[in-house]
């Protein structure tokens, strides 16, 4: 190397370091951009029902994340500035808010009480996806997306992890990936097993979830106590058990990788039927009561009858992650 090149390089390196330092300082001293200030708008009054939602802004995702309770068509803010959630759920006085840590670089779940005050925080190992709390508030279930690290040039395929947590203590109890799975009475296991979208039965021990492996998306029925699951049928994602425990609302993949239709299946027969919603919906549906479902298309919240009749009705604008507070 000619010493001229060396000098150019040193000068360039110094410039880069100064430039980087200056930009970081400018960014650090500038106004903080972690603001969550979106507010949903009620579009229809559902009598006798309270719905908890996460607010989103149609223009600026940085405003997303606040939690509101909508009571008879009145939007009431509850979470103050304390909770900024990607996904929220609540039952029996205990809620889960999956979001980003204050540092802005880590994912955390906050367990909050009936007044929406944070009680526990749990560090998450990936991006928030689904959250559920059992009807009695005993267990919580959280699904996160884990993107493979690219160390050594190898990358784990895109995967999910689902944790069961003790809502009283905020301790993670176990991970569905470690549960024993059976199919047709025989042990069932593969390296690409992914679980997501837990829904609890009334006894809070029994649950349903999705098991993804290869091209299959199995509905599994499990027991938290026994740490086990068994496969019921294929083609069911993000199950949601009806309050009377007889049916499961779910999303069903159509053709392409990321398009779904909402359907409802009867647990007695394992037969399913479609709904009036004809758009692709990527959500874990919530039962408003035994006859009606609520869900979000990522921007607004809709209600649709579970029997396949009627029409989807927009009930809230600028909201996602609906939780029915009435039937609990």
């Amino acid at each position: 190397m000619g010493s001229r090149n060396g000098k150019i390089l040193v000068a360039l390196a110094v410039l880069c370091v100064l430039g980087a330092g200056a930009y970081i300082a400018y960014a650090a001293l500038g106004p903080s951009e972690t603001i969550t200030d979106a507010r949903p708008e009620a579009k229809a009054v559902l009598s006798d029902s309270n719905v908890m939602v996460r607010a989103v802004d149609p223009e600026d995702p940085r405003l997303n994340g606040r939690v509101y309770v909508v009571h008879d068509g009145h939007v009431e803010r509850h979470s103050g500035g304390q909770l900024a959630c990607e996904r929220v759920y609540f039952a029996a006085g205990r809620g889960i808010c999956m979001g980003v840590a204050e540092s802005g670089v880590d994912y955390v779940a906050t367990i909050f009480d009936a007044k929406m005050h944070p009680v526990h925080t749990i560090r998450l190992s990936g991006f928030p996806s689904r959250a559920r709390v059992s009807t009695d508030g005993r267990y919580g279930a959280m699904t996160v997306f884990v993107t493979g690290d690219s160390y050594l040039g190898t990358s784990a395929a895109f995967s999910t992890r689902t944790y069961i947590v003790d809502m009283a203590t905020g301790e993670p109890l176990d991970q569905l990936e470690r549960f024993h799975v059976s199919k047709d009475g025989k042990p069932f296991d593969a390296p690409d097993f992914n679980f997501w979208g837990v829904t609890f039965a009334k006894d809070s021990n029994r649950f349903y979830a999705t098991l993804g492996t290869g091209d299959h998306h199995y509905l599994v029925e499990g027991s938290v106590r026994d740490r086990s699951m068994r496969v019921l049928r294929d083609g069911v994602e993000c199950p949601s058990l009806s309050p009377d425990g007889t049916r499961i609302a779910f999303k069903s993949r159509i053709g392409e990788q990321t398009r779904w239709r909402l359907r409802v299946l009867s647990l007695a027969t394992l037969q399913d039927h479609g709904l009036a919603e004809k758009r692709s919906i990527d959500d874990q549906v919530e039962w408003l009561d035994d006859e009606n479902l609520v869900y979000s298309d990522g921007q607004n919240v809709y209600a649709v009858p579970a029997n396949g009749g009627g029409e989807p009705q927009q009930i809230l604008k600028n909201a996602t992650s609906p939780v029915s507070l009435h039937v609990r």
């Binding site: 190397m1 360039l12 960014a27 940085r62 997303n64 980003v100 784990a156 390296p191 990321t258």
Partner: protein, 419 residues
């Protein structure tokens, strides 16, 4: 030979300079290591925060990124063979590698300027992958051509150690910036761009395009000559050995999934598995490379695969304590250190000077396709027969592959009959 002291301006710590001098690593190799390190810092900074950025600034699902990434991975593997040949054909490994590094750097600039749509980010991820595919073979050829044949494994070890150091530093720097300036992803992109530009600058300004072993006379090799490499007996033997070994080697990602079933439940542990392995790889790459140059590359390569065989054994145990787990991960790091750069060194020593990039490109492609296939087969066996039986099958396969590779590799080391 260029010594590392010549570049004191860049390598401030004296300790490192002295160590490298003792290692006798050509300056060109250290500079190429520096280029890789800066580029990896740049790429990993962005890769780490991209899921966060997608959601917080674009309101998109991280699923979108998974789909984008998978699509271009295959394309990058094929680009590798073509760019290797192009580098040989034009006798311009530095320029072709530079184009690869440059494409990635341009992608970073584009991220700062226009990284606010999913399509834009998809294109940038594609740029990064293709850039990586283009630069790998000519860069390895430059490392090989810059080194004496006796010091090849050490040279590749130094490069791989610096490369993985960059991959580890990147995420730390990105998180550091976001801690100082929460949610200011633009700051991460700007700093990443500066690292990428600096990487290209180090390449242009300090790396010798025609290092000492580079061919200077004669005709540029034809496509036929490059394709004829597979008929070169020594290289063909090496390719067959590498294929057999890679077909029985399960990817580390798959091993982590298996190991995770054997350890006590703790959500925070999983990401650490990668880190421990990467640190072990980084720390062992240079000493293992030196060892390979001293005692022979073939035994060290085979010992690496033997380490992998032992790690398979851990998957047969009903449960693993944390002590054994860490040993396994160190073993895995050792396996990478003893195979990654050493295999390239073996190839570099027997490939003709004018076809280094083509040959190294072919070898890397064969190995990565072999690893991909083996992971698919391992996954299918796991599903059909269970983890235990899948490991038994692959353990037996790897043992056979090692035994079969011994004569193949030893014969590939014999002096050619002609030339």
């Amino acid at each position: 030979m260029y010594q590392v002291e010549a570049s004191k301006a860049l390598l401030k710590p004296k300790l490192w300079a002295r160590r490298s001098a003792r290692l006798n690593v050509p300056r060109n190799v250290v500079m190429l290591g520096m280029v890789s390190m800066l580029t990896d810092v740049s790429s990993e900074m962005v890769a780490t925060i991209l899921p966060l950025y997608l959601v917080f600034s674009l309101g998109a699902s991280p699923l979108a990124l998974g789909a984008i990434d998978g699509t271009y991975r295959g394309a990058a593997a094929l680009v590798q063979v073509a760019s290797g040949f192009a580098a040989d054909r034009w006798r311009k490994p530095k320029e072709v590698a530079g184009a690869g590094y440059g494409i990635s750097a341009v992608g970073k600039v584009a991220l700062v300027a226009a990284g606010n749509t999913i399509g834009g980010i998809g294109a940038i991820v594609a740029f990064d992958r293709i850039g990586k595919g283009i630069r790998t073979a000519p860069r390895d050829a430059l490392i090989s051509l810059s080194s004496s044949k006796a010091g090849l494994a050490t040279a590749f070890g130094v490069h791989r150690a610096m490369d993985s150091a960059g991959a580890m530093l990147g995420p730390l720097i990105a998180f550091g910036i976001l801690l100082a300036a929460p949610a200011r992803f633009d700051a991460v992109f700007v700093v990443s761009t500066l690292f990428a530009i600096l990487g290209v600058a180090v390449l242009i300004l300090t790396v010798q395009g025609k290092p000492k072993r580079a061919p200077r006379e004669g005709n540029a090799p034809s496509l036929r000559a490059a394709a004829g490499l597979v008929k070169d007996r020594r290289f063909a033997l090496l390719l067959v050995a590498a294929t057999v070994l890679s077909l029985t080697s399960v990817s580390d990602a798959m091993l982590y999934v298996g190991l995770q079933r054997k350890i006590d439940f703790a959500p925070a542990v999983f990401p650490l598995l990668y880190v421990i392995t990467a640190v072990a790889f980084m720390g062992l790459a240079i000493p293992v490379g030196q060892l390979a140059d001293r005692v022979g590359r073939v035994p060290v390569l085979l010992a690496g695969y033997a380490l992998l065989f032992i790690v398979y054994g851990a998957l047969l145990m009903s449960s693993l304590g944390y002590g054994l787990l860490v040993l396994c991960l160190l073993g895995l790091g050792g396996y990478f250190a003893a195979t990654e750069g050493v295999l390239a060194a073996i190839a570099g020593a027997l490939l003709p000077e004018d076809l280094q990039a083509s040959g190294l490109g072919m070898l890397t492609t064969v190995v990565s396709i072999g690893n991909l296939l083996s992971s698919l087969v391992f996954g299918a066996l796991w599903l059909e027969l269970g983890l235990r039986n899948a490991v038994l099958v692959f353990g037996a396969g790897l043992a056979l592959a090692i035994v079969a590779a011994v004569p193949l590799l030893l014969r590939s080391q014999r002096a050619p009959v002609h030339g």
